[in-house]
C-alpha cells in the first residue's frame, strides 16, 4: 500500500475538542460569565452557610423582633457595629451613639455542623457579644437573623434546583429516548402521558400532588417530596424534546453502524443517541433550574413546603405576605432579592451556553 502520510507539524497546536471550542465561545460572553461567577459564589456560600452565617437559622433573639439591618462601619482600623435600643411601645429601634463593639473575623461563637456533619464553632465574622448583634439584613418577627436564614435557606432552595433537574432530566432523557427510538405504540402511550401531565396547570398539580403526601413530615421528607413533585412535573417537557431529537438521530447512519456491531437497543439509546443531545440538554437544564427554585418557593410560600423553623427562601417570604410588615420592615423581602439574582444569573448563563453551543452563529 502506498502511504500518503501527511507531514505532521510537531509544533502545531493540537486540534480543539468540541468542549474546548464551546468553552472558548462561552468565555467571550461577558454576561454569561458574570452569571456563572455569581452562581459559583452563591453555591459556595450555600455550601459553607454555617461558616458564613453569624448565627444559627433557628436562633431566637427575644429582645430584638424586627430589628433593622445593622451595617458595620469603619472606625479607626476596626469595623464596628452600634448597639441599638428599642423605642418603648413599638418595634422601632435607635442606634445608641458612641456605644459600639468591633466586629472580628474568624470568631468562635455558636456551634454548627459544617456540611451537616463536621461540628464547628468558627464563623466568618461576629462580635462575640450577645448585646451587640450583627444583623446584616435585620431580624424577622421571631427575632431571627434574616441574613443567616437566607444562607441556610439557600442550601435548600439552590440544591432543590440542581437535584430536581438531575432527576427529571435523567428520566426525561431516557423516557424521551425510548419513546423516539422505538416509536409506534410505545411512543404514543408515553407522549399522551406527557401531554396529560403538561396540560394540567403546574400549580394545581403541585398542590394536588402535595395532598397525596401526609401533612406532617420531617424536614428531610418534605425536601425529598418537593424534589419528587417538581421532577414529576418537569420530566414531561424534557421527554418531548428529546423524543423529537431522537426521531431524527435514530435515522443517522451511526445508529445503524452501532446496531451492526451488535449493540443492544438500550445501549444505542444511552451511548449513542442521548450524548448527541447533550449540547441542548445542558442549555435547557440551566434555563430550567429557576423553575425548580421557584417551585420550591411557591410550595413553601403556600405553607405546604419546607416547614418552620427550617429556612428556605419560600417560607421566609411567607413572613413578607403582610403589607403592614412590608411597609415597616422591608428587609423581610431579602429572600425575594436573592431569588431574583439567582434566577437572573441562571438565565444569563443559560443564554450564553445556548449561544456557545450553537455552532451556526
Amino acid at each position: 500500500m502506498n502511504e500518503t502520510a501527511p507531514i505532521q507539524d510537531r509544533n502545531a497546536e493540537p486540534p480543539l475538542s468540541p468542549w474546548q471550542l464551546f468553552w472558548r465561545r462561552l468565555r467571550q460572553r461577558r454576561i454569561a460569565m458574570a452569571g456563572g461567577v455569581i452562581l459559583i459564589v452563591l453555591y459556595l456560600v450555600a455550601l459553607f452557610a454555617g461558616f458564613v452565617a453569624p448565627y444559627s437559622f433557628d436562633r431566637l433573639d427575644r429582645d430584638r423582633f424586627f430589628h433593622p439591618p445593622t451595617w458595620p462601619r469603619l472606625s479607626g482600623f476596626h469595623l464596628v457595629v452600634p448597639r441599638y435600643e428599642q423605642l418603648p411601645g413599638s418595634f422601632h429601634y435607635r442606634a445608641v451613639p458612641d456605644d459600639t463593639m468591633p466586629v472580628h473575623f474568624l470568631v468562635h461563637t455558636g456551634k454548627y455542623k459544617l456540611f451537616g456533619v463536621i461540628p464547628a464553632t468558627l464563623h466568618l465574622f461576629g462580635t462575640g457579644n450577645e448585646n451587640y448583634p450583627v444583623y446584616l439584613l435585620g431580624t424577622d418577627q421571631f427575632g431571627r437573623d434574616v441574613f443567616s436564614r437566607l444562607l441556610y435557606g439557600s442550601q435548600i432552595s439552590l440544591s432543590i434546583g440542581i437535584i430536581g433537574i438531575l432527576l427529571s432530566f435523567t428520566f426525561g432523557m431516557i423516557i424521551g429516548g425510548v419513546s423516539g427510538y422505538f416509536s409506534g405504540w410505545t411512543d404514543t402511550v408515553i407522549m399522551r402521558l406527557c401531554e396529560l401531565i403538561m396540560s394540567i396547570p403546574a400549580l394545581y398539580l403541585i398542590i394536588s400532588l402535595r395532598a397525596t403526601f401526609p401533612p406532617e413530615m420531617s424536614s428531610s421528607q418534605v425536601y425529598a417530596m418537593i424534589i419528587i413533585i417538581l421532577s414529576f412535573i418537569g420530566w414531561a417537557s424534557m421527554a418531548r424534546v428529546i423524543r423529537g431529537m431522537t426521531l431524527s438521530l435514530r435515522e443517522q447512519q451511526f445508529v445503524l453502524a452501532a446496531r451492526s456491531l451488535g449493540q443492544s437497543h438500550l445501549r444505542v439509546i444511552v451511548r449513542h443517541i442521548l450524548p448527541n443531545t447533550f449540547s441542548y440538554v445542558i442549555v435547557a437544564a440551566t434555563l430550567s433550574v429557576p423553575y425548580y427554585i421557584l417551585g420550591e418557593v411557591v410550595l413553601s410560600f403556600l405553607g405546604v413546603g419546607i416547614q418552620e423553623p427550617s429556612a428556605s427562601w419560600g417560607n421566609m417570604l411567607t413572613a413578607a405576605q403582610n403589607t403592614e410588615y412590608l411597609r415597616n420592615y422591608p428587609w423581610l423581602l431579602a429572600p425575594g432579592a436573592a431569588i431574583f439574582v439567582t434566577v437572573l444569573a441562571f438565565n444569563f448563563l443559560g443564554d450564553g451556553l445556548r449561544d456557545a453551543a450553537d455552532t451556526k452563529s
Binding site: A257, S260, N276
Partner: protein, 318 residues
C-alpha cells in the same frame, strides 16, 4: 459449508394488501474468503438484501415472508436476539456509504473502535489494540489520532476508521455498502486497495455493494447483478465483464464510458427502474429491454444456470 447462503429471500415493506415486495426471491451464496459484488441501480434491493444478512432492516416496516439466510449454517431470520447480537460484528461487519455519518460525532475515534472491541473481544479492548488496528488500515500517526473526533479527519480517513471498527471484532464476512461512493476518485482507489489487501491478510469474505462496474473487475471473484428486487445474472467476475449475458447487464456495461470510445454520446438505458410495488408483469426489465418479445410480459423468467457457474434470468440470453 458455505459461509453465507441466501435462499429464495423474500421481503416486503408493509403487511397485507399494501405490502411492497422489495426483495423477491434472491439467492446468493458466498464461500469463505470469497469476494462477491452486488451490482445494480439505486433502489433495486441491494442494500436491504445486504442488511438482511444481520437482520438489520427494522421489522416493521420490513416483513420477511419467505426464504432463509444461513450464516455459518444458522438461519439468521429465526435467530434469537442474543445470538443475533453476537453475529453482528462477530461474524458479519458492515462498512457504510458515508463514513462521516457512520461515526458518532461526539466520541473520539479511539473510543469508537474500542467499543467494538469491548462487545466482541473484551480482553483486547486496549489502546495498543486500537493503535494496531489503525495501523492496519493505514492511518498515519495512530498514537495521536486515537484522540481525534471524527470531524477532525478527512473522508478517506474516516472510512479507514470505519473499516477499523468493522475489523476490530475479526468478522468472517465484511459487507461494504458502497464504501467509496462518498469519496473522491483517488481516495476510492486507496480504500479499495486497502480492502483488497486486508482480505488477503485476514482471509475474510467481502460482500461489496456497488453500482460502479469498474470496481467489479478489480475486486470481485463473482458478481450478482440485481434488478427490481431480483438477481438477474450471477457469474464469475471476469467472464461477466468479458461477456455479459443478460440484456440488463449488457446495457449497464454499454453505459460505462470507454477511454477509447471517442466523443460519441454515452449510451443510457431508456426509462427508469420501475418503482417498488409498481413492477411490470412478467420480466421486470422487459419495458426497457432492447430484445423484449411479447411473451416476456407474460411470465417472470426463472434464474437458470446456462453455463457452468453462470446464471441468467432471461430465456433469450443467446
Amino acid at each position: 459449508m458455505n459461509l453465507l447462503e441466501i435462499r429464495n429471500l423474500k421481503m416486503d415493506f408493509g403487511i397485507g394488501p399494501d405490502a411492497l415486495r422489495a426483495v423477491d426471491g434472491v439467492s446468493l451464496s458466498m464461500g469463505v474468503g470469497e469476494t462477491v459484488c452486488l451490482v445494480g441501480e439505486s433502489g433495486c434491493g441491494k442494500t436491504v438484501t445486504a442488511l438482511s444478512i444481520a437482520r438489520l432492516v427494522p421489522t416493521p416496516p420490513a416483513n420477511y415472508v419467505g426464504g432463509e439466510i444461513l450464516l455459518n449454517g444458522r438461519d439468521v431470520l429465526k435467530m434469537p436476539k442474543g445470538e443475533l447480537r453476537n453475529i453482528r460484528g462477530g461474524v458479519v461487519s458492515y462498512v457504510f456509504q458515508e463514513p462521516g455519518a457512520s461515526l458518532n460525532p461526539v466520541f473520539r475515534i479511539g473510543n469508537q473502535i474500542k467499543e467494538s472491541l469491548k462487545l466482541h473481544k473484551p480482553e483486547k479492548a486496549t489502546d495498543e489494540e486500537v493503535i494496531r488496528l489503525l495501523k492496519l488500515v493505514g492511518i498515519p500517526a495512530p498514537e495521536s489520532r486515537i484522540r481525534n473526533y471524527p470531524f477532525e479527519m478527512s473522508g478517506g480517513m474516516q472510512q479507514r476508521v470505519m473499516i477499523a471498527v468493522a475489523l476490530a471484532s475479526e468478522p468472517k464476512l465484511l459487507v461494504a455498502d458502497e464504501p467509496t461512493t462518498a469519496l473522491d476518485v483517488t481516495i476510492q482507489a486507496q480504500i479499495l486497495e486497502l480492502l483488497h489487501d486486508l482480505k488477503q491478510r485476514l482471509g475474510m469474505a467481502i460482500l461489496l455493494i456497488t453500482h460502479n462496474l469498474g470496481i467489479v473487475g478489480d475486486m470481485a471473484d463473482r458478481v450478482a447483478v440485481m434488478y427490481a428486487g431480483q438477481v438477474v445474472e450471477l457469474a464469475p467476475a471476469k467472464e461477466l465483464l468479458r461477456r455479459p449475458l443478460h440484456p440488463y447487464t449488457k446495457a449497464l456495461m454499454n453505459a460505462v464510458p470507454k477511454l477509447a470510445g471517442g466523443a460519441e454520446r454515452l449510451s443510457a438505458i431508456p426509462g427508469n427502474v420501475p418503482r417498488i410495488g409498481n413492477f411490470p408483469p412478467g420480466c421486470r426489465f422487459a419495458p426497457r429491454c432492447p430484445i423484449a418479445k411479447p411473451e416476456c410480459s407474460k411470465k417472470i423468467p426463472e434464474l437458470v444456470e446456462v453455463e457452468a457457474g453462470r446464471w441468467v434470468r432471461c430465456p433469450f440470453w443467446k
